[in-house]
């Protein structure tokens, strides 16, 4: 046959493309492993019971731990979830269940997209002006507000996506049984999508639990226990890591910074793996 293309060259193109994609995957996986291994290598020596149980101490005083920062981070992120999740879920419900109100929905969706692209340092600055300056002091609560603003659009869009996966016939079936629209949405649709909704909240939590910039403007840091959540600077992990790793002349603090980084990493990995397991459960149908 005339004009026949060489099979050899087609095979070589195939091999080349495959080689490139394998290389790309390898680079991605290797970088992740490199990060994880580095953090474990430098951080594991800091992990002693006293490190996990003692609060942090001022520069130069040995024997400090990260217990206060860990609790502070938990308080700040869960505070953020309390503030952000209810309205975000309701917003997601609106986007998904009332999508025929096109104008409102497109405004809402566009705002969420803009907010998701907003650098977190700007959100920190905003909350600094609104909460810190007006109340006259830094606080863990202000940190929660900043993280909540970051979480809100993520959870809202995820809620919309997850409710969108629930088949329309299920809504019709519920309405056909004489249920009201609200009951259909809350008891049937949201319940059918519950794992997906929880997944979204967990992913958003793990994402904001390492945010540093907004906390520098809001929660700041303190060596005391996080009882000052509403009233003053509150210890937290990201700021502790930043301070210890970059702002201290003491080797022991550098190591504590690595140890704290390891703890945060393990925390985030745990949340992420738990989330994957949840999604897998969802795929099994129940």
């Amino acid at each position: 046959m005339k004009n026949k293309r060489s099979i050899t060259s087609r095979k070589w193109t195939d091999r080349l493309v495959r080689a490139f994609s394998i290389f790309a995957v390898a680079v991605a996986v290797m970088s992740m492993l490199w990060v994880i291994c580095t953090v474990i290598y430098y951080g594991h020596r800091a992990l002693r019971p006293s490190f996990l149980l003692n609060p942090s101490r001022p520069y130069g005083i040995p024997g400090g731990g990260i217990a206060n920062a860990l609790l502070g981070t938990i308080a700040i992120t869960f505070g953020a979830a309390l503030i952000a999740v209810p309205p975000a879920i309701l917003g997601g419900i609106y986007l998904s269940e009332y999508k025929d109100r096109r104008v409102i929905c497109s405004i809402l969706r566009f705002s969420a997209t803009v907010m998701m692209g907003m650098p977190s340092v700007i959100i920190g600055l905003f909350v600094y002006m609104i909460v810190v300056v007006s109340s006259g002091h830094f606080s863990g609560f202000a940190g929660s507000v900043a993280l909540a603003i970051i979480m809100f659009p993520v959870v809202m869009r995820n809620t919309e996506d997850m409710l969108g996966l629930v088949p329309y016939t299920l809504r019709e079936a519920a309405l056909a049984m004489g249920m009201t629209r609200t009951r259909t949405t809350l008891r049937i649709v949201c319940f059918a999508a519950r794992r997906g909704l929880l997944t979204g909240v967990l992913l958003a939590l793990s994402r904001v639990s390492g945010e540093t910039a907004p906390l520098l403007f809001t929660a700041l840091f303190s060596d005391s226990w996080p009882t000052t959540y509403f009233s003053g600077p509150t210890a937290n992990m990201p700021v502790l890591i930043t301070e210890y790793a970059t702002n201290s002349p003491f080797a022991e603090m550098h190591q504590a910074g690595w140890g704290a980084a390891l703890v945060v990493m393990l925390l985030v990995l745990t949340i992420n793996i738990a989330t994957r397991l949840l999604i897998r459960g969802q795929a099994d149908g129940h």
Binding site: P167, A173, A174, A176, M177, G178, I188, A192, H286
Partner: protein, 251 residues
């Protein structure tokens, strides 16, 4: 024979597209009425007017009258929740709620009726027996409704629908997503249900319409071409289009 539902000059629109044209149909009480016709002819659309489920979508609207027991239920004054209790619907794909077998039936009952927990249990059992599902699920009432087989799920949906004491059952291709053995069970169930309920079933399966229905309406392009006793429609259709469809020349 008493007329249960009377559709008068229904015109239906998806946005600016008209889907039904002057549909008028009298449905007999405690009979099975089959609605047949090729895909996209408006069978399901017609059925979805009867419980006003189309109102979920803002761009869909209907004109005309739908008289059930002497009342025009398309009147906005008519309470749609009560209408839907009275007019149950079964869908093509089984739609169990994400809850246990027991709750699938008990939950809707609780919305419509105040019952003691003993009465509630009785009512659930009655409904499951009426849907010939009791023997298969009585030991797994606490399991998820989604864990049942497709045919069982569909009978669960039928049980759920009859548990709230409807008078009419609308079935939108209830067996098209289900295997032949389960289909047979559901057809037998429908025949036993017609003693108490008025059933309107949309079906793609002409043998099914011939097997179970008393009356048949043939839809084509949004028009009701022919309506009459099933035996006559299938043996001696008056309209050429009907004959072409039931002999398989198109559709």
């Amino acid at each position: 024979m008493a007329i249960k539902i009377s559709a008068k000059n229904l015109n239906f629109y998806y946005g600016s597209n008209q889907a039904l044209f002057d549909n008028s149909l009298d449905i007999e009480e405690r009979r099975i009425t089959a609605v047949i016709g090729p895909s996209g002819c408006g069978k399901s659309t017609h059925l979805r007017v009867y419980n006003r489920i189309f109102e979920l979508y803002r761009d869909q609207r209907v004109t005309g009258e739908l008289i059930i027991d002497g009342v025009n239920v398309l009147d906005p004054q008519v309470d749609v929740l009560e209408l839907r209790r009275k007019v149950g619907m079964i869908f093509q794909k089984p739609t169990p709620f994400p809850m246990s077998v027991f709750e699938n039936i008990a939950y809707p009952i609780k919305l419509h009726f105040k019952l003691s927990s003993k009465e509630l249990k009785q009512r659930v059992e009655q409904a499951l027996r009426a849907a010939s599902l009791w023997d298969e699920v009585k030991d797994k009432l606490k399991n998820s409704g989604l864990a049942l087989s497709g045919g069982q799920q569909q009978r669960l949906c039928i049980a759920r629908a009859i548990a709230i004491e409807p008078e009419i059952l609308l079935m939108d291709e209830p067996t098209s997503a289900i295997d032949p053995v389960a289909t047979l069970k559901i057809e037998e169930l429908m025949l036993s249900l017609k003693e108490k309920y008025t059933i309107v079933v949309v079906t793609h399966n002409m043998q099914q319409a011939a097997r179970i229905s008393d009356n048949t309406a043939f839809f084509f392009k949004g028009h009701i071409i022919e309506y009459g006793p099933t035996a006559r429609i299938f043996t001696n259709p008056k309209e050429k289009k009907t004959e072409e469809y039931i002999t398989g020349r198109f559709g």
